[in-house]
């Protein structure tokens, strides 16, 4: 069956995605109407805290939501214009590694300890590309060099590499077949900060070289500032603010995003007290009516607890879901951060 790939400017478009987890005791909505879009060749940072649904979003794109207990309730995911949610498992396997790849947080458990790096690298190449053994091996060695590891170490086992190097191997495997989209789920959280810097450099170089699109899932706003072009802030399964880097960092609008920035230690004034966000993220099995952030928000008013806010656009890309704003007032600064 021929599929017409539309000439979309977007590498990835997610519309109104809802994912739930069901067990005998409860049903939890991990994603509750998620909208996401990544332009070709750009990097989107998906920022949120534990339980917001970031990993679920990544897994949904890859078709890796464990079923049971999870299932995709509704929505659409378009990868380069192609709908993913209607694909069978067989069709999905052709896409994973080839058109979209994912790397995870813990490099220790992403690699099979009983196989050499060569085996694991060539596996993905052999699955998707029809090359001879020699060519596969050559390609694998190329990928190693690309991520900054000497190619002759290709015959070694994962335990012989340090954490940072393992993560770079994982990146090499993910990019071996030059996918259009790379999903990175907290790729540097488990690494030391100096190693993190090295790995992020590697990722940036590769992204530029391949003109690849990337979804960087993280809770660290510093990494977002370093690596991403645009930002989506996710809270309780939905995006509450989205915009370019400049939009979200310099013209922050949503109280949650502002709260996130305020929670960070002020590097200019040591003695300034931190301003945390009070309370906790709501239980995904028991989401409140209205705006899910209302109970933690200092500015919540009556309507906030009744109706979930619509998107209000500040410019072509920057939008926020918050009742504080009307289209007219959003341009003016509400707070000085």
């Amino acid at each position: 069956m021929m599929r017409e790939r539309s000439q979309s400017q977007y590498a990835l478009e997610i519309r109104d995605l809802a994912v739930e987890y069901r067990t005998i005791e409860w049903t939890a909505r991990a994603l509750n109407g998620l909208d996401l879009s990544i332009e070709k060749g750009k990097t989107l940072g998906l920022v949120g805290e534990t339980g917001a649904g970031k990993t679920t979003a990544g897994l949904s794109i890859m078709g890796l939501i464990p079923n049971p207990p999870g299932r995709i309730a509704s929505g659409s995911i378009l990868l380069e214009g192609e709908e993913l949610l209607t694909k069978t498992e067989r069709e999905y396997r052709k896409i994973r590694g080839k058109k979209v790849s994912m790397i995870f947080q813990d490099p220790m458990s992403s690699l099979n300890p009983v196989l050499t790096i060569e085996d694991q690298l060539t596996e993905v190449i052999e699955t998707h590309e029809h090359l001879s053994n020699r060519e596969c091996r050559k390609k694998a060695e190329q990928m190693m060099e690309l991520v900054g590891i000497p190619a002759d170490r290709i015959t070694e086992y994962p335990h012989q590499f340090s954490g940072g190097m393992k993560q770079r191997v994982v990146i090499a495997i993910a990019l071996a077949c030059t996918p259009a989209l790379l999903i990175a789920d907290e790729p540097t959280t488990a690494l030391d900060v100096t190693i993190q810097a090295q790995v992020l450099e590697t990722m940036k170089n590769l992204k530029n070289m391949y003109s690849m699109s990337m979804l960087m899932i993280t809770h660290d706003l510093g990494i977002v500032a370093d690596v991403c072009d645009s930002v989506s802030v996710i809270y309780a399964g939905r995006v509450v603010e989205h915009g370019s880097l400049e939009d979200v960092f310099d013209h922050t609008r949503h109280p949650y995003t502002i709260g996130l920035f305020n929670s960070l230690p002020n590097m200019k004034d040591r003695t300034a007290k931190l301003k945390p966000i009070k309370g906790l993220m709501p239980d995904p099995g028991n989401l409140p009516r209205g705006c899910t952030f209302a109970e933690r928000c200092d500015y919540a008013q009556g309507m906030c607890r009744e109706v979930y806010p619509e998107k209000i656009y500040r410019n072509k890309e920057h939008y926020v879901r918050c009742h504080l704003y009307l289209s007219k007032t959003i341009e003016s600064e509400m707070w000085n951060r």
């Binding site: 805290e49 340090s162 900060v193 810097a197 510093g222 370093d226 007290k273």
Partner: protein
């Protein structure tokens, strides 16, 4: 010893025997902390900061050195004496999920230290104290009989703090207390820890790998690398004028949550050298951009320069 100093550590050493040789986990570490102050210890994995913290309160037995606490060398006490001293030396652990016994309610966990040392023999009084501790750390009283698995990471960490405070300690070792928490919860817990410090006059040893947190939280900072302190200075001084090349690389690697003030990143080459049988050399030499001959033949000592700023590096002319 200065009367304003609560803890003075001298030449603390701990080696581990491995098949390949002696692993220098903590190598002649010395520092002192003033009463009511916070010393931050930073470093990356394998630098020995956690081992140092545990060795000071003898959760791990150090091989040699002295730890002077309130006029007594802790390392000279026997098992029973150190057990009694534990009321004054406490620890807050990193992982809120595994540092609490899942079979005990949170009140039982907070109460346990008092029961063990028979500090508050009357049961009702104990319960009252537990309730008050819960208030202090911000735990709702209705949670009195809940189990840890019913609560989130932030609340669990508060329980750990309440437990540490239950015996009115003087000194608390905090081993990465907020690393496992979300950013907004981190801020809550850090504020709590600061408040409690002011209220009770506590002295902290704050171990972390997170440089922005340590800057905010500590009065002084010691940077560790492969078992040694390579630089030590008051926080503002360290961040303003980092001396050691490693410190510089470390500070430049912190991701800054701002699209302005992008700084030049100092990339270190290579990987961590081995902590096994390191020999008498500068342990950072293999990765240093400024390395010269002396660095591979001698080990630099931690020496004071100015402004209370100590550094162990041949780049800086010492005595």
């Amino acid at each position: 010893m200065n009367t304003n100093t609560l803890i003075e550590v001298r030449d603390l050493t701990k080696y581990f025997k491995t098949k390949k040789g002696m692993l220098h986990a903590v190598d002649h570490v010395s520092f002192s902390i003033g009463k009511g102050k916070t010393l931050g210890v930073v470093g990356e994995s394998g630098c020995g900061k956690s081992t140092t913290g545990r060795a000071i309160i003898r959760l791990i037995e150090p091989d040699s050195g002295e730890v002077w606490f309130d006029g007594v060398d802790l390392l000279s006490l026997n098992q029973e004496e150190i057990r009694k001293k534990r009321t004054e030396l406490q620890m807050i652990f990193q992982d809120p999920f595994s540092s609490l016994n899942p079979r005990k309610t949170i009140s039982e966990t907070i109460e346990e230290p008092m029961r063990l040392h028979n500090l508050v023999p009357d049961k009702k009084e104990r319960q009252l104290k537990v309730a008050r501790l819960m208030d202090t750390v911000g735990l709702a009283r209705r949670l009195y009989n809940t189990y840890p698995h019913e609560l989130d990471g932030g609340r669990r960490q508060r329980i750990g703090i309440a437990r540490a405070l239950s015996m009115n300690p003087k000194f608390v070792v905090c081993d990465e207390p907020v690393s496992a928490l979300d950013v907004s919860i981190q801020a809550q817990i850090l504020n709590l820890m600061k408040e409690v410090q002011e209220q009770l006059g506590l002295t902290y040893l704050f171990i972390t790998h997170d440089l922005s947190v340590v800057y905010h939280f500590s009065d002084d900072i010691a940077v560790m690398y492969l078992g040694q302190i390579i630089e030590k200075a008051p926080s503002d001084e360290l961040f303003a004028r980092p001396m050691h090349p490693y410190t510089r690389a470390l500070l430049s690697a912190i991701p800054v949550p701002s699209i302005h003030d992008r700084k030049e990143r100092v990339i270190m080459k290579g990987e961590l050298s081995s902590p096994i049988n390191p020999g008498q050399v500068c342990r950072f030499a293999s990765r240093c951009a400024y390395v010269f001959d002396r660095c591979t033949r001698e080990a630099p000592l931690l020496q004071a320069k100015d402004n209370n700023h100590e550094v162990a590096c041949f780049l800086y002319k010492g005595e």
